[in-house]
C-alpha cells in the first residue's frame, strides 16, 4: 500500500503547506518512496528486541529550577511579521 494523492493533500493541509498540483504529484511520489522504505524495514524480525524511543543513549538530562534571564522584549518581537510594542499580532482568531 502506497500513499495516494488525497492522503498527501491532507498531510500538506495539516502542515499548513500550500502545494500546487504539480508539487502534490511529486510529493506523493517522494513520500510514497519513504513509506516504501518503512515497509521494507517492517520485514525485519524484531521479536524480543526492546523498542528504542530515542536515538541517543542518554537519559535524565535535567536542570535545577533556577531562573535565568529572559531576553529583551524588543528582541523577542523583532523578527515577527507583525507586532506592536508589547505583543505579537496575528489575524483575528475566534
Amino acid at each position: 500500500m502506497s500513499l495516494d494523492r488525497a492522503q498527501v493533500a491532507k498531510i500538506a493541509l495539516l502542515a499548513r503547506l500550500s502545494l500546487s498540483e504539480q508539487e502534490l504529484d511529486s510529493a506523493t511520489e517522494q513520500l510514497g518512496k519513504i513509506v516504501g522504505l518503512f515497509r521494507q524495514l517492517e520485514q525485519v524480525n524484531t521479536d524480543g528486541i526492546e523498542p528504542l524511543v530515542h536515538a541517543i543513549e542518554l537519559h535524565n538530562v535535567l536542570a535545577a529550577d533556577q531562573l535565568a534571564p529572559s531576553i529583551e522584549r524588543e528582541l523577542a518581537l523583532k523578527n515577527a511579521p507583525s507586532a506592536d510594542d508589547e505583543c505579537f499580532r496575528v489575524n483575528a482568531v475566534l
Binding site: K10, L13, L14, R16, V53, H54, A55, I56, L58, H59, N60, V61, L62, A63, A64, D65, Q66, L67, A68, S70, I71, R73, A76, L77, S82, D84, E86, C87, F88, R89, V90, N91, A92, V93, L94
Partner: protein, 499 residues
Amino acid sequence: MNAPEYTTIVGLEVHVQLKTASKLFCRCSTQFGAPPNTQVCPVCLGLPGSLPVLNAQAVQLAMRTGLALQCRIANFTKWDRKNYFYPDLPKGYQISQFDLPICAEGFLEIEIGSEATATRKKIRLVRAHLEEDAGKSLHDESATRDRKKSDTRIDLNRTGTPLLEIVSEPDIRSAEEAKSYLTELKLLLEYLDVSDCNMQEGSLRVDANVNVHIPNKDPNGKPIATPIVEVKNLNSFRAVERAIQYESARQYQLWQQNGLSIGQAPKQTRGWDDQDGITTLQREKEESADYRYFPDPDLVPVLIEESEIDHVLQSLCELPQTKRQRFVSEYQIKPYDAEVIVSQGLAIATYFESLIKLGSTPKRAAAWMQQDVLRTLRDQDIAIDQFAVTPCKLAGLLVAIESGKLDTTRGREVFNQLVQNPQIEVEAAIDSLGIVQVDNQAMEQLCAELLAANPDVVEKVKSGNAKAIGSLVGQAKKKNPNADPRVVQELCLTIINAS
C-alpha cells in the same frame, strides 16, 4: 420512585499549573502578571536551534501529586510532540506525553450524598502527564474597529509553563459529584503545595467529557449512550456544575429528537457560555483532532528509580482524608466538624491542632474554630496567617473558659478584644473587661434577689416551665456582667426547688 430518564456520565480533565519558579523546558519565570512577552527566550519562543532542558522540580511535583493520587509512577517516561497550529503555540507543537505518562492509574476518593447518608466513592484516574502550557491570545477591542490592523495580540509569557493534566475515568455520575471531585482534588493539591489552584489566573483549568446513558426498553439490552461531548471554557466549579446539568439535559432532548447514539455522530467540542448558561458548538476544522504525536527528538527519556519514588512517598505530608480520619479518632470530634476544619486548608487544620496541643479541649477548639475563627476570617477577608489572634492566645482563652474563670459570653468579648488589638495578651484583655470570677456566695445572693423581685417567674417554674428562668439571665448579667448564665440558671432552680 420512577426510574430516572437517564444517567449522566462525566469524565474530567484537569490541567494543574505546577508551582515551579521556572518553566518546564527553559529557565524563564512562570510568575503571573508580568508585562506581555517579558518572560520569553529562544526555547519558549520556539526559535530554531534552541534546545529544551527539563525542569527537575516539575518532575518532583508531578511525582508527589501522582503518589498522593495513588498512581503508579512510571520507571520510564518520555516526551512527545503534539502537532497543531494555533497562534499561541509558537513551535507548531506542544511538548506533552503520549504513550508513557509519568503517572498512571490512580484514584481519588470523594464524599457523595448529604451529611447523614454520606458515603465515599472512588473516582478512578486514567493518567496524569506533564506538558507545557500555551501562550495567551488577547483580543484587541480598539483594533476591531480599525480593519487595517490585525486584531489578536499574542502574549507568550505563559508558553512553556509546566502543567500536570489529570484525566479521570468516566466515573462521575452527576454535576454534584463533579463538584465534589474538583473540590477534593483542589484541597489535595493545596495540601501538597504543588499548585496555587487559582482558577482566575488559570492555574487550574477543567474540561468535562459528558454524555448520558438512557435505559434500554429491551430488558436484556445495554443502556443507550449518547455521543460524547467535550465541554470547554469552564472557568469556575460552579460553571462545571451548571454546564454538566445543561449538557446532559440537552443531549437527552436531542436523542429524543434524532435517536443518534455514540458512534453514529462524531465527538463534539462545545464551549460553555456562562452568561447565557448554555453550551455552543465550537468551530472545528475536520483535521484538528489529528495531532500526529511522535517522540520529541530534542528531549531524552526520564528514568525514575524505585528508591526515588520511595523517597518522594516518604516525604508526602498527611493527606486531607487521612487527617479527617485522625481528627475523628484521635480527638473524638464529629466527622462533620473534622470535615469543615480540614477542608478549610492545611493552615486552618494546623491552627486547630495547635489549640489542642496548647491545652484546649478538642471539642471546644472545634466549636470556636468553626464559629468564631472562621467567621472572623470571613468578615475580615483574610487568611489564617494574617489573623491577629495567635493559637497561643486563643488556647489561653479557651483554657480560661474551660476552668470556669469566665463564661462563653464573656469569652467572646475577650476574643473580640484580641481580634481588635493584636498587641494585647489574654490576661490583660480579661482584666480590661473587668472580668473577675464571681464567688458562689455573691451569686447566690444575686439570684435570691432576682427571684424575690420576679415572683411570676418563680410561679412559672413551679408549674413546670423551667425555661422561664431564661428571662432572669439577662437581668443577672445587667447587675453583674461576670455572672455566668449557666450558673445563674442552676442556682435559681436550686433555690426554687428548695423553697
